[in-house]
């Protein structure tokens, strides 16, 4: 009795082991299509229809077996890829996936086009087309090509215009310069109003237009641009943490309170903690200094050169005794006149 039971148990155990070590080869009628870049395997084999019809444990078993077989085939393919050890000798084995071939569909719907502005509608109605303007204009007075607007524009500096004619039907007492200034201000304000209206219309109609434009227009002030630059920097996957700074941007990142009050440590906080932090900082600074002291090496080299030069000079001197040696030495030594002059200069500099 006991022997039979033991045999049964052993047989069951062997069966379990065999199941675990099932063969890694899978037989399929049609070969699977693989896109290893996306870890994708496409099975075009028609499944057997009968078991799939009714819901039940047979269906589950069939589906599970199908999934297991296809995954086995995919993993077999992955093992064939070129692999390397990440992170040096003892790191994990990492396969190098090829470029994905399958184009994944969009996550969000594509952005709708922006609705046309009032001017664009009018232009379409009238058939007005955009004419490309040249960037430079010939200035007859200055006899050279000047830009159309901006610094040194053609037509002279508007700020230096010293004459403003009184137009035919205008009040002679009116200040023409003030009128020009006022009209310019009104034009700018109207332009700005229309721009904002277009923007609001686009935003209302639901196209993907940001409420504050992220591209630089001519009419943004410094604060707005700074805000926009901050938004742009933070719009990365790591929320701007590893974004390199622009050339003139300040080094210290702005606080998380968004540009409001700066927060400092309390005046009489934990002094021991402060001291330990400072010591750590000192250690950090100390460790950053390079081990090879370049200046010491240079000095050593200089000392060597000096010693060599001195030895060579001594050898030369001994061979060049006599008239020749004396004649060569004289221009080098300081004469009485130049020495006195130098002393005078020193005294005047010191006093």
């Amino acid at each position: 009795m006991a022997a039979v039971r033991v045999e049964a148990v052993l047989a069951a155990a062997e069966e379990q082991e065999a199941e675990k070590r099932r063969s890694i080869t899978v037989e399929k009628e049609l070969e699977l299509e693989f896109d290893l870049g996306n870890l994708l395997a496409l099975d075009r084999n028609p499944p057997s229809a009968a078991p799939l019809r009714g819901a039940g444990p047979r269906r589950e078993a069939l589906l599970r077996a199908l999934a297991r077989d296809n995954t086995q085939l995919l993993v077999n393919r992955l093992w064939e890829l070129p692999a390397e050890r990440a992170g040096g000798a003892g790191g994990p084995l990492v396969a190098r996936l090829p470029e994905p071939a399958f184009r994944l569909p969009r996550e969000k719907p594509p952005p709708r086009p922006r609705p046309p502005t009032r001017w664009e509608q009018f232009a379409r109605l009238k058939g007005i087309r955009r004419r490309k303007k040249t960037s430079l204009v010939w200035d007859e007075q200055a006899k050279e090509w000047r830009r159309r607007w901006g610094y040194r524009r053609a037509g002279g500096d508007p700020a230096r215009a010293w004459l403003a004619e009184v137009p035919a039907g205008a009040d002679p007492e009116e200040d023409q310069f003030a009128r020009l200034r006022r009209e310019k201000r009104e034009r700018v304000a109207r332009n700005e109003l229309n721009r904002l209206r277009n923007l609001a219309r686009a935003h209302r109609d639901g196209s993907a237009v940001p409420a504050a434009p992220l591209h630089p227009t001519g009419h943004q002030d410094r604060e707005e641009l700074r805000r926009v630059a901050r938004v742009a920097r933070v719009s990365t996957a790591s929320l701007g943490r590893f974004q390199p700074r622009l050339p003139k941007e300040p080094a210290e990142p702005p606080s998380r309170s968004g540009g409001k009050k700066r927060r400092f440590e309390p005046l009489l906080g934990n002094l021991a903690a402060e001291r330990s932090r400072q010591l750590e900082l000192l250690r950090d600074i100390g460790s950053k200094k390079p081990v090879l002291d370049i200046t010491r090496a240079v000095n050593k080299q200089l000392r060597q050169e000096e010693a060599e030069a001195a030895a060579a000079h001594k050898g030369k001197k001994q061979s060049q005794r006599g008239k020749r040696g004396r004649r060569q030495q004289r221009p080098g030594r300081s004469g009485k006149k130049s020495g006195a002059r130098r002393q005078q200069q020193q005294k005047s500099a010191g006093g």
Binding site: A251, E252, F264, E265, P266, L267, L268, G269, L271, A272, E274, R275, Q278, L279, L281, L282, I285, G286, D293, T295, R296, V298, N299, L302, R303, E306, R342, Q345, Q346, A349, G350
Partner: protein, 180 residues
């Protein structure tokens, strides 16, 4: 008055380190009491904990100078060491320059030290290394930056500048109004 931020502390320590090297630890971690650095109106002060507690009760507008002023932060956030730190730099200085009696006065008036006025200089001084200037009687006169390394100092002509002047004790008289 407030404690220094991380960046400010780093700037101060790097500047001090140019003159006293790793001896800054002796300033930060003292056996005879807790001393700390505090910032008041862009100037960095070094004061003991006892003095800090006293100074904390003085209104900001009335507070002139808590402790010893080491230097100040300029408008572009660079740290500039002032002569009032000399008492703390002199005992821990790594590279020293001794000036002859004849050109002591010249240095105290704010001029650079010329080779002709150079008495002694520490061996292995690198170029542009921070140095403390002493008189021949070992009295600290101020500090500066070595214009030439020790090796070059030997070879250069007598009117060349060997130490750029940065601060001297004569400033106590000249800049009496602005020193704190």
């Amino acid at each position: 008055m407030r404690p220094l931020t991380e960046a400010e502390t780093r700037a101060v320590f790097e500047k001090l380190g140019k003159y006293i090297g790793e001896n800054i630890q002796l300033l930060v971690d003292r056996p005879d009491g807790t001393y700390c650095f505090r910032l008041h109106r862009d100037r960095v002060y070094y004061l003991s904990e006892k003095l800090l507690k006293l100074a904390a009760s003085v209104p900001r507008d009335s507070l002139v100078s808590p402790g010893t002023c080491f230097g100040k932060f300029t408008k572009s956030q660079k740290f500039r060491l002032s002569v009032t730190a000399l008492d703390f730099l002199a005992p821990y200085a790594k590279y020293k320059v001794w000036v002859k009696p004849g050109s002591e006065q010249s240095f105290l008036y704010g001029n650079h030290v010329l080779k002709s006025g150079l008495g002694r200089i520490t061996e292995n001084t690198a170029q542009y290394q921070g140095v403390v200037v002493y008189s021949m009687a070992d009295v600290p006169l101020g500090f500066g930056v070595a214009a030439k390394s020790t090796q070059e100092c030997r070879k250069v002509d007598p009117l060349a500048i060997v130490v750029f002047h940065q601060a001297d004790v004569g400033e106590y008289v000249r800049n009496e109004d602005t020193l704190t």
